[in-house]
Symmetry: C2
Subunit: 589 residues, 2 copies
């Protein structure tokens, strides 16, 4: 990768000068960031004295994105900030009272709304459980479970969906790209200009880093989240120079002469001794000279402004040799158009020729970086991985940050229990039928080392948890295995003898406060580095699951294998009883 | 449309309690919201004393989105707020100094960065010209032109691209959906939960309104921008009721008895007199009763929780008849799954049967609203427009807000002039070659009424503007016509005799201040309604161009006709001379 442009990972998000609020990254994330129907429903509930009915809502998705078979769960961090700061301000209330939809509502309703904030969340025993940020998750399993009063459950829905949808999508997209590109090439996020809005961009930087990208071009994201930043120059920079005269007097300290008095030398003179073809573009050469003098230890040049192989590369080589002569190590080139595979091999051949001509002197040219940008997507990365190319890094923008292949993860948020009774949502479409009742979700592990996920297994909340089977006796006593059923296909059952069982959800918010899990715990006195440290931990967790735990057939690009999400026999029976009870039997006469 | 849920258009964006800044809607939109390479390039320019070279940059796109032939330009409003508040804070500077990429930069560079703000924008005669917000625009024409120092031009690039890209894309997407849906059906934006982040969502609400949508479900957008808000209830609301007992005591004021003492009556009793099929779902009926009592003048029910035609519709009709009896007008139903066309016709048949049975009493049932949601996109709208359906409104979410069909408008930002000399960017791909030099862009109108756009015409900045030809003599004197050339296809030329000529760009920012055009001028003392008024004007402007000015063949869904963007012969010759001069001639031996 472009090692020259990685920055320190100091997250200054808590710096008071710019950012005094402790709430969500985007101040638009407020109680009012909701669909109107949450407020109309809540009014109807308030009117029928149901607004405080104890309820359970689950947030989940129905289908893995990108024709893949896994999803990376992200966005919980911002959800928790939202929960901590949730309230309707007096101005919000006045606005609601001014709307045609709500202007007739009773005064008491607006008083009720204005009492819902962190304190009341505590008072009414609202509890939020969630999978750990960065967990590999699958359709139909609850990512976040909200237990609390019915009205509040409605009011939290839309923002939580918004805050989970895109972060999970982008982390998944990024992780897939990284799986295609590695180990040969690194991925850098370049999408700020094409993202769907400013925080689309900043979220993309943050969660693509979690997904395995090594850095971003977005400086604000670098500052806010402590992500390494990367970048060199653009075509317009090259175009801004007009002739060699522009850099005729520019000097650079010659490190090989550093103890003499005249270590500053005119750089262009050195470059011109290495220029063997005067038909290359002069203004481009001037631009490269200026860049080299400004960033002698980080000289990476964009070589396709005029003609990659006939102008950009010869000009870069002349500049890079001069830098080498001055005691600096040139870094490499970036390609932004044309046949990236062929051009990268052309660049590599030219660099190798330099080494071959002066093998003792020009070793730096053997390991130059060749970065490609220009509409890279997962499909291209997959094809490149099966092709002979010489690229060492990809700068990925539009297709990463907009998730072009599938720009939304269809997260939903459903009521599964109310007043202690399970609820089911039926639908003309079977995929839209919900699994009723408060549930627990476990990951059952097996395989030779006991670390391979076998199946995700849901039970009702009051069932005993499944226990690992550590019996070495391979003549399995069938009674010890865990019978797992597909919730919707009665014939599909498996019996699992797990070596390890892990509960995927834990309590993350209770009594009005965020509850940190052991994995996420950190010294409360650390402030500056929290965000960066946390992101880094989550990034490692994602990598560990995708590279060490899940089998390649689940994560591969072509025809991945579906990972099983199953339910306990008790939950299966419960679902089908409730389904029969609630679905009307149409009468035909 | 769902008329019941439209709110007043009071924009409270300037309310001090929530929103004290006068800057961009999202505080992340700051000088630091930029690609690192803008800062590295600027350093190289600063080091070579080029950072203050007078330069011209143009922001444009290369291809219309959605396989269409037009684009709605939006986002200028936020660009201007960004320009007005542009600066690097001391904390930003400290962050930059801490990065690996810039830590070696000279102190003077950081001093230079910290001086760039509104005042210096004024001092250095930075001038920004742009097309009016909401203008229908085409590839290769400059939407925004920045004249100012080279360094500043770089530093503004990324944020301007980010701020134009998505707003223009969403306004275009929305306008296309509205063209397919109207006049039969209205479009409402329902995308908050699926948008790419919180301001992806709020921007979608704002710019889909500009594109012709009638409202949004997003309450925060309603408050911030004064957009009408809409929405009723969800499946979870229906599921939250368990039996008729839940609403057994709920009363509603009977408007027909309003002068008597006992105008409050138990609503369920009235409903049950109209229930003829006890197999419909009880809890659904309870939910509808509660909703009707909470919103007697705005009762629109989601009818597909259990079974649309066998439960939802009979239950709704019973409740609607009771409302009708009580003197309220029921509003209608929403469908969120299944075959929307067939179900809408099924609903309509059921409503018509009510009217037929009691024609004098049940006229309200003849005009009930039927809203459809569930993955509506432009293609579905186009198919529906050629089908017999009974829908009166669409709620559109994911496909609208993520612009699924094409999630980014590929806006670019190119240097076209530096130190008074034109610059050209060549490329291996001809579509990436830029048009050099500061340009002016005109729209030439003709047709019977003189209001039909014929061609967009670019000249160099110092050419005389094209003049309308108002000669009634139809034996055109060829010398009076305007010769327009395709910049890249030498054979493609047309001669135009325009009845009207309109320059598309005007100065929008000069001497550090926003310059308002006549169209956009408003009383500076208006504060609350500015945003709403401005959006409304822009919305009308979009509609006028799409419905009254541009011919249908340019805006239609299938095989639209390309609208010509041409250049003057002078600009044509200039482009090709510069191209030859700058492109290296590869040597083959």
């Amino acid at each position: 990768m472009d090692t020259t442009t990685t920055t320190t990972t100091t997250a200054n998000n808590n710096n008071n000068e710019d950012n005094t609020h402790q709430g969500p990254t985007n101040p638009l994330v407020r109680a009012l960031l909701t669909d109107l129907y949450q407020l109309t429903m809540t009014y109807a509930h308030w009117k029928t004295n149901k607004a405080n009915d104890p309820s359970v809502f689950e947030l989940f998705f129905r289908k893995n994105p990108f024709r893949g078979e896994y999803t990376v769960f992200c966005g919980l961090d911002e959800c928790l900030k939202f929960l901590q700061t949730f309230r309707f301000t007096p101005s919000d209330i006045r606005y609601l009272q001014s709307t045609k939809a709500l202007s007739h509502c009773e005064e008491g309703y607006f008083e009720y709304l204005s009492t819902i904030h962190t304190t009341s969340l505590a008072a009414c025993h609202t509890r939020v459980s969630a999978c750990r940020e960065g967990t590999i998750v699958f359709p139909k399993t609850p990512l976040i479970t909200i237990e609390g009063p019915l009205g509040l459950g409605h009011l939290l829905e839309t923002a939580l969906l918004n805050l989970v949808n895109y972060p999970s999508l982008i982390a998944t997209n990024a992780s897939r790209m990284v799986l295609r590109a590695t180990p040969q090439t690194a991925c850098i996020e370049f999408g700020l200009r094409r993202a769907q809005g400013p925080d689309g961009a900043c979220s993309a930087s943050k969660y693509s880093y979690v997904g395995g990208f090594v850095g971003t071009s977005n400086v604000q994201a670098g500052k806010s989240f402590g992500i390494p930043i990367a970048g060199t120059h653009a075509h317009s920079y090259v175009q801004s120079f007009s002739c060699l005269q522009d850099v005729a007097t520019l000097t650079l300290s010659n490190k090989n002469h550093k103890h003499s008095d005249d270590d500053e030398q005119v750089f262009l003179d050195a470059v011109l001794t290495h220029r063997h073809d005067s038909t290359t573009n002069d203004s481009e050469l001037a631009a490269f000279c200026a860049y080299a003098c400004a960033f002698p230890n980080a000289c990476l040049c964009l070589v396709d402004t005029y003609d990659t192989l006939h102008s950009g590369i010869p000009n870069f080589i002349a500049v890079a040799k001069a830098l080498d002569d001055f005691g600096y190590t040139p870094v490499g080139v970036r390609l932004d158009s044309g046949d990236l595979v062929a051009l990268s091999n052309g660049c590599k051949d030219a660099f190798d020729a330099v080494v071959a001509a002066e093998p003792l002197r020009r070793q730096a040219f053997a390991t130059l970086t060749i970065v490609a940008s220009n509409d890279i997507n997962e499909d291209i990365l997959d094809r490149f991985s099966n092709t002979h190319h010489s690229l060492t890094a990809f700068g990925i923008g539009t297709n990463l940050v907009t998730c072009q292949a599938q720009p939304a993860l269809g997260c939903v948020y459903k009521l599964v229990e109310c007043n202690g009774e399970p609820r089911i949502k039926l639908s003309e479409e079977i995929t839209k039928v919900t699994l009723p009742g408060r549930k627990r979700i476990y990951r059952l592990y097996g395989g030779p080392s006991g670390t391979t996920p076998l199946v995700d297994y849901m039970t009702m909340a009051d069932e005993d948890p499944p226990v690992p089977n550590n019996d070495d006796d391979d003549d399995d006593d069938d009674d010890n295995g865990i019978l797992c059923r597909d919730p919707f296909r009665s014939q599909h059952r498996i019996k699992v003898f797990p070596k390890r069982v892990k509960q995927l959800q834990s309590v993350v918010f209770e009594q009005g406060r965020v509850v940190r899990s052991e994995e996420d715990a950190h010294d409360e006195n650390e402030t500056n580095d929290n965000t960066a440290t946390q992101l880094s931990k989550t990034r490692d967790y994602v990598k560990q699951q995708l590279c060490d735990e899940f089998p390649e057939e689940v994560t591969r690009y072509k025809d991945p294998t579906k990972y099983d999400v199953m339910v306990s026999p008790t939950l299966y029976n419960y679902l089908h009883e409730l389904w029969e009870k609630n679905a009307p039997v149409p009468i035909k006469r």
